[in-house]
Amino acid sequence: MVPTSYYILLSAILFTLGVAGVLIRRNAIIVFMSVELMLNSANLAFVAFARAFQTGNAVSAAAMSGQIFVFFVMTVAAAEVAVGLALIVAIFKSKHSIDVDQVHQLKG
């Protein structure tokens, strides 16, 4: 069986990639995708721990909660996509661009 640490490591790599994407990329869609990547790395970590805490075939609350949380995250991610894409469309309509650096009027 693949050790849990591998999953966690993969999850960390994916999260780091997502962070890097958010920080480096200027295309809003890409940033968005990077955020999804981070969310999904979290999902992977949830699932990995859920499996790690599972003992036999018994259904335990501790093990199930990790998997159930993944569903919550996916739901939230879906809602976030809906809102986020709507925002991007709105921004594009006014700016004719989805470059996040173009939107920097709110500054001190």
Binding site: I24, H104, K107
Partner: protein, 746 residues
Amino acid sequence: MHESSTFSLSSLVPLIVVFPLLGVILNMLVGKRLGDPWAGIIASLMSGLAFVIAVLQLVGLFLEKFHATTVTIAEWIVIGTLKIPWAFQVDTLSVTMMLLVTGVGTLIHVYAIGYMKGDERFHRFFVYLNLFIVMMLFLVSGNNYLMLFLGWEGVGLCSYLLIGFWFDKGAGGVGNARAGRKAFVVNRIGDFGFVLALFLIFWTSGSLIFNDTFKYFEEKAKEHAAAVTAPAPAAAAGAKPAEGHGESEGPTTEQIATAITLLLLVGAAGKSAQIPLFVWLPDAMAGPTPVSALIHAATMVTAGIYMIVRSNVIFHLAPTSQMVVALIGASTAFLAGTIAVGQFDIKRVLAYSTISQLGFMIAAAGMGAYVAAMFHLLTHAFFKALLFLSSGSVIHGVEHGHHALHAHGGGHDHHEAPAPDAHGGHQAAHASAASPDHAAESYDPQDMRNMGGLRKHMNVTFWVYLIGAIALAGMFPFAGFWSKDEILADAWLIGSKQPYGVAVYVLLSVAAFFTAFYMGRQVFMVFFGGARTDAAKHAHESSWVMLTPLVILAVLSVIGGGLNLPKFIPGGEALGTWIEHSVEVHAVDFNLTVALISTGVGLFAIFLSYLVYGRSPMMTMTDPLERLGFLFRFLNGKWYVDELYNAIILRPVEGFATFAAYALDWDLWHDFFHDVIIAGGFRWFSGFLAGFVDKGIVDGFFDGLGGFVRETALNFREFQTGYVRNYALMVLIGVVAVLGYFLFVR
């Protein structure tokens, strides 16, 4: 009720003040609506009812065998041992004064209805007059010194109000008001002494009630007498009050009594116009003539004599004071008598004559001749009230003649009151310069030089005036003869024992000479000869409402002597035996020598006045006496007493007041203390607070705080770049930091 054994007439005595008080209230409330003459009739009625009560008291005293009673209405002041009730003393002395005040007062009320006719403040005059009656009755009927003092101040107030009744008249439009103020202030000096005397009386005897106070002093006197004559106690019982023996520790009774009586004398000098406080009375003639008659001749000014007679027990203990009182009275009688010779204002002559006669009474009271003092007080009230009211009638008549002549719109443009020259002899300065045409311009209806020959126009007034003048001059058998001679006889008696009595006798005799002379001068100048002005030519007799009181008073002036005829006449010594029930008296026999001397002196003076004024009546405005030159100017200038007071008291006081006002108050207090110290100090301190504390510390702190926040915020705003990725990076760094902290530090 009348038959009830407990009922006595003396219980009615509170009504004596209730009636005039009712008059005051009525006239204050509705007097203006009632107007002329009803306000006056109400006032006269109330005064008349008070007179009826006084007569009832007289009857009551006869029924009660002259037993003195006290009628207490209520407590007034109760503080510790000081107990002062509202109580009336009904004895022969107070009833005598009540009869005089209400009797003469009522006559003058009636007269005033005629005299004040048409005055714009008619009802107010009667309010004051009734208030005066109330206060005077408090003065004479109270059973303690504080009620006496209440009345004393009350009559002083009424005097002030009535002197200044025509406050918009007189010299410069303020002359009368000034005269009122002068009277008020001079009286305050006397009251100062009186109040001190009251304090001293309470301090020594522990009471202000007459009976208690006098009992205390009588007992003290007996104790001292007993102590002195200790070896012979039997003699002590009947011994006379203590003579001077001040060797014991602390002030002796005699010393205290001397202090009290001298202070009382100051009070009496103020109220009864004696040296040195007599200067207010001549100026008080600015008031309407009924006021001069009632307040400044018949009643109020005699309050001092009443007070001395009332306090006779204390005076007996202080022979020194008695001597001082007698000498002051005699000197005043002499001084005022001489001044009266040099005056031209008809009322001013009478004013000085009043001062002179008051001097007689004070001298008599000082010599312990209380009966003589009261006797002269009564007769003087009759004939001086008569003279004043007659002079009012004369002034009235001449003024009407003046108005008829000039037809001044027919109005009753009221009496040009005498110019009470506050600065003395301005009259003297103008006396010789006065020319007929000048007199016509500023016509003075009171100047005797403007009269003459009035006998023909004012017959009744002439006769009553003549009666009053003869009575005042002390001619047999008029009232003044008996009373004045009794005083002179007393002085003669004292003079045979003590040297000061001789001085008193001589001064009084000389004063009597001047009295007869100036009255002769006045009668000849006013009524005889020819009219010296057109106004006098057109003068006419006054109405009967004015003349009736005059006639009554004239009758009293003739028969007033009957009150106290010499002992050898049946019914003599009536007043003496009457007063004896209240006051310890020593009767003096009729002294033929004295009577002959004084009659001779009086006749000589009248003859002299006939020589000067009667034989060849003066036809010009120049008084024959002016030939005396300096002497006459000196008398006309009233011995320059006003000027003297001006120089030694008023000027320094004014100087000090100016100094206090300008140097002390303005320069030092206002300019220096207020402006420099207080205002400057405040300015400096508020500057310190505003500049250093507020601007420096408080503002510095909060400005600093604000600046700091601002600077910090300015620095922090750099972080808000607007680039989303920047924020994300910071979030990342934050997360890394937090995680790092949890992972590695903790």
